[in-house]
């Protein structure tokens, strides 16, 4: 029973991180119809940024979000304006190829700059505490609650501000949005800015718990597919549900299936994706149907 509770708690904590990690991927797909294959690389950039700020100034990875989020918003806004807006209304393959190119370029650029050596952010509080007999890693617990806070703020932004409602409108019907004067490419750029900032922020938050290296991105992009299939496109509660389901599944498999271990998490993720697509091709919550940010 203790083992089960431990796996459940660890899975939920991991799921919280997955949820905030996938939001950017899911919303870009939902609003623009672009599958961002460079998603994992933006998470890698966030992790490297946290490492660089920690190394240079001793800045805590969570405190570094104050710098990383606005800087990456500008990066995302610029990327969308300069590159993605040119292909966003062309056949999907174009955007897929462009983001694939961005992914390869970023990973190799970081390899040239930082080499392939793994880096780490050794924060002083990277320990754990006991809660009802379950061991809770401090960093992952902070990430979990921060993820909930971020999702709450994003939900409020999308539902209660004019800008957020414009993003939802663009997701639901871009021609109708255009015709009432919404500058759709600007909405896309703001959306990309927010999403890429969130993704990099997720990378920064997880930096104390994982090795940082230039090719760490693709497994996260693949997991983002599974979580999106579980939770739906652009749906914040769906991202949370999808993240938690994947996190718990991975940890349960790692705990109870001999010889698997957490290193085969991507395999678990893919098996889950294949099962979902066979049983419910439209996604678990119907979210792979046309895009509507809820």
């Amino acid at each position: 029973m203790d083992q089960f509770l431990q796996a459940l708690a660890s899975g939920l904590l991991l799921g919280g991180f997955y949820a905030v990690m996938v939001l950017g991927f899911s919303i870009i797909w939902g609003v623009m119809g672009v599958i961002n294959l460079a998603h994992g690389e933006f998470r890698m950039i966030g992790a490297y940024a946290a490492w660089a700020l920690f190394r240079a100034f001793g800045l805590d990875p969570f405190a570094s979000l104050v710098i990383i989020l606005p800087v990456m918003f500008v990066v995302g806004y610029a990327l969308q304006t300069i590159l993605l807006n040119r292909v966003v209304e062309r056949p999907h393959l174009m955007a897929l190829l462009v983001t694939f190119g961005v992914s390869i370029s970023l990973a190799n650029l970081y390899k040239v700059i930082y080499s392939a050596d793994p880096r780490s952010v050794p924060v002083s509080y990277n320990g754990s505490f006991e809660l009802f007999g379950v061991t809770m890693p401090i960093v992952k617990t902070i990430i979990f609650f921060l993820a909930l806070l971020i999702m709450g703020l994003l939900h409020t932004f999308l539902h209660h501000t004019r800008l957020g409602k414009s993003i939802r409108a663009a997701a639901q019907n871009k021609d109708a949005a255009r015709i009432v004067g919404i500058e759709i490419h600007k909405v896309y750029a703001i959306t990309a800015g927010i999403c890429i900032a969130l993704t990099a922020g997720a990378g920064a938050m997880l930096s104390p718990t994982q090795a940082i290296f230039p090719f760490m991105g693709p497994p996260f992009t693949l997991k983002a597919f599974t979580i999106t299939a579980l939770g739906g496109l652009g749906r914040i509660p769906g991202a949370l549900l999808g993240g938690l389901l994947l996190g718990v599944t991975e940890l349960m498999v790692a705990t109870y299936v001999p010889g698997i271990g957490t290193n085969l998490g991507v395999a678990v993720s893919f098996v889950l994706l294949v099962v979902i697509l066979i049983v419910r091709p439209q996604g678990l919550l119907g979210g792979l149907r046309p895009m509507e940010v809820e």
Partner: protein, 249 residues
């Protein structure tokens, strides 16, 4: 002939899809305060012409003018901000937003700074939205999701959304399609009221000839992308070329 400057004018407009001329050298003009009809058999190019006028489609040749200014290469959102609004043949409302939110979103984005866009809607905007909702007899549905409305109610909502920015001209694409006679009468009455009391100009695509005859002072007829005829509803209904195009008689 009208001596005023046209509010909306197309000169020798062409739009091709591959080898097909969807709009084939069409000239037309709509003057301030008019209600003009645009009719024609299915596939005659009416909606494509609307798409060209609102710049959702680029034209291959010709010029389009709005309020005397050429808009041939202006972007759709800029055309909307200049005062040209439209509805769609297939109703386009935001199904996951309430009726009020749908109305407000139609006047959200006016080139304001990002920080302003983080604030809630201005009280005047909300007042206008509620007024229009009442005008269109949808007040009992103000907080209902648009996806829960009937087809006719959604059509009224779409018209309300087009009215939110207080446009100079409204292009309505088959506003009575699939709607019961009671709602058609409401739509007809609201168009007439807006035209008489506020001087709004309308360009209507319609298959409902009675609707056109009751409202429009002039009618254009398209067939195979070309302008087949132009005149008063009475003249059009007696035009042999129009009768042949519609009924093959």
């Amino acid at each position: 002939m009208n001596s005023q400057q046209p509010l909306l004018e197309g000169r020798d407009v062409y739009k091709f899809f591959g080898g097909l001329a969807a709009v084939n050298g069409v000239d037309f003009a709509v003057y301030p305060g008019e209600i003009v009809g645009l009719i024609g058999p299915n596939g005659s190019g009416k909606t494509t012409l609307f798409d060209c006028l609102t710049r959702l489609q680029t034209i291959d040749k010709g010029q389009i003018f709005f309020k005397g200014q050429e808009i041939t290469r202006v972007r759709p959102y800029q055309v909307a901000r200049m005062g040209l609004a439209r509805t769609f043949q297939v109703i386009r409302v935001y199904r996951k937003m309430t009726v009020l939110e749908n109305m407000l979103i139609s006047r959200q984005w006016r080139g304001e700074g990002l920080l302003n866009m983080l604030r809630p809607s201005h009280p005047d905007t909300e007042r206008r939205a509620r007024h229009l909702i009442q005008f269109l007899q949808l007040e009992h549905l103000t907080d209902e999701l648009a996806g829960h409305l009937s087809g006719g109610q959604r059509r009224l909502l779409e018209i309300g959304m087009a009215l939110m920015p207080d446009p100079d001209i409204l292009l309505l694409d088959e506003a009575t399609s699939g709607i019961n006679p009671t709602l058609i009468e409401i739509i007809k009455d609201r168009i007439r009221t807006l035209n008489r009391e506020q001087g709004k100009t309308f360009l209507l695509i319609e298959h409902n000839i009675n609707f056109i005859a009751d409202l429009c002072s002039r009618v254009y007829v398209l067939n195979f992308g070309e302008k087949l005829a132009e005149g008063t509803p009475e003249e059009i209904m007696e035009n042999e070329a129009v009768i042949e195009a519609y009924f093959g008689a």
